[in-house]
Symmetry: C2
Subunit: 283 residues, 2 copies
């Protein structure tokens, strides 16, 4: 039916579903020390990055993910100055973070430098802010970096990782969250991509429990569309250190000085509303 | 890659994308006078109905669509009593409409009786309210039915149709909207499924223009996730006759007397918020 020479397909075996994009060409394929990275030229979605067989981002709709991994948390924090991004090697989240004038430093720590080098080549629009003097790009183990961070030295930690299997597994644990909680100043926020609201309710529930168990006093999941990820529907979960996560700086979001494609104050408010089944599942 | 004997695949050729569900069996296939209907037993989504090659509904996640095609419009109308559903032969929208105590009559007009008969067999939970004394099921041309409806005789028209090609084409025209406007009483609302916010911005823009051109004084698109439809992200568009569509009976929605899986007052409010790119496109 779908000729594998013409289509890239990601199968979600656990849910008996698959999503495919028609490709013109595979532009690159590489086994790094950490993962297998492919770049495709697609017919309808621009360039596509695939890691270990899972779609990571496409030119056409990565704005959904990158805007929702950054702006809601940044507008929830009272005055975010010191930001770190664990993972996020494509630099799309970093670009969005740097749009906020309050941000004084943004450190991106991705274990695999090749993700960033390939993003520079195939998604140059995402790396356009990498030379910002506030930005630091490190290529090392994010878990260790957080462990070594000084207590209270960060306002916002964004965990922009792959799924909780493989290299990113350690980023979904109570121990890691406890280190994040320690590294955050009062009023600080951790936000992490938290999989599909439809397929991964168990992961979501465990994440909330682990975050609370690690000392965070508030947690909040945000939902948003994400066409190329399993189910087409995705989430991010925030954990707060003495901060209400269901409120945000609405006026600042309404008067933001930069353009977005998805995010605005209404979208932010809407993303905070949990579907009934998820509200019940998360208690 | 995906064995066509094991997977049902819907290709969206215009966007170079495809979505597949793993199937255990094809339970039914039938060419009716209007369309080709298939029923599959899937591995992860329960039963699946396919019409002319397009996924229509699955057991697992039809609640997303049916709840969003009904409750937002019903809670936007001040006091909806007389409802008609054009299309909607699977009866899932009808079931949601009948949950509202204010509704005195709900007429479902689907041109193809076979959709309803197959729903009774394979999606019995959706047809469980068909014997409600307030419900009338007709199997005839919805366009003609609306043309013959008395002026001002309806409070809410729900167009729960297939895509704007084939039998449903006439439901996406200014002439049809003008007939709906005529059949609605003051304060009345038309709501229609309006395709993917990501893939079909042109259809959405033309729909708003046609609705306004037909005499409606307000229009409002709602967005919501819909895993098995193209892009995994879907929309419905409301047109109002002397009614603000960006407000609704919030207290009534908060205190609703029935259970939902997706809809609640927060979800309703959130669905009204348009993504930036769509807000710009719809002016």
């Amino acid at each position: 039916m779908l000729d594998p020479n013409e289509w890239f397909t990601e199968v979600v075996a656990s849910d008996g579903a698959a999503f495919s994009l028609r490709v013109r060409d595979r532009l690159h394929a590489e086994q790094t020390p950490y993962q297998f990275i492919e770049i495709y030229d697609t017919e309808g979605f621009g360039k596509l990055m695939v890691i270990d067989g899972c779609t990571m981002l496409s030119t056409r709709e990565n704005f959904l993910y990158h805007e929702m991994m950054s702006h809601p948390a940044l507008y929830t924090h009272a005055a975010p100055r010191r930001v770190c991004i664990i993972g996020g090697g494509d630099c799309g989240t970093l670009r969005e973070v740097l749009r906020h004038e309050s941000v004084e430093s943004a450190v991106q720590i991705d274990i695999d430098e090749r993700v960033t080098r390939l993003a520079e080549q195939y998604f140059p629009e995402l790396t356009e802010s990498n030379a910002d003097p506030r930005a630091t790009l490190l290529f090392e183990d994010g878990v260790r970096w957080i462990e070594e961070a000084a207590p209270g030295s960060l306002d916002l930690i964004i965990v922009d990782s792959t799924d909780p299997v493989g290299p990113a597994e350690g980023l979904f644990t109570r121990d890691f969250y406890a280190q994040c909680e320690r590294a955050l100043a009062a009023g600080g926020i951790l936000i992490q991509q938290s999989e599909s609201p439809l397929y991964h309710v168990k992961i979501l529930r465990e994440m909330h429990e682990a975050m609370r168990g690690a000392g965070f006093d508030s947690t909040q999941t945000l939902c948003f569309p994400q066409t190329i990820y399993p189910s087409g529907w995705w989430s991010a979960t925030m954990a707060g250190k003495g901060v209400a996560l269901d409120r945000f700086r609405v006026e600042a979001a309404r008067e933001k000085s930069f353009e977005t494609q998805y995010y605005n104050a209404g979208i932010h408010q809407g993303a905070l509303a949990l579907p009934e089944f998820l509200r019940r599942a998360l208690g």
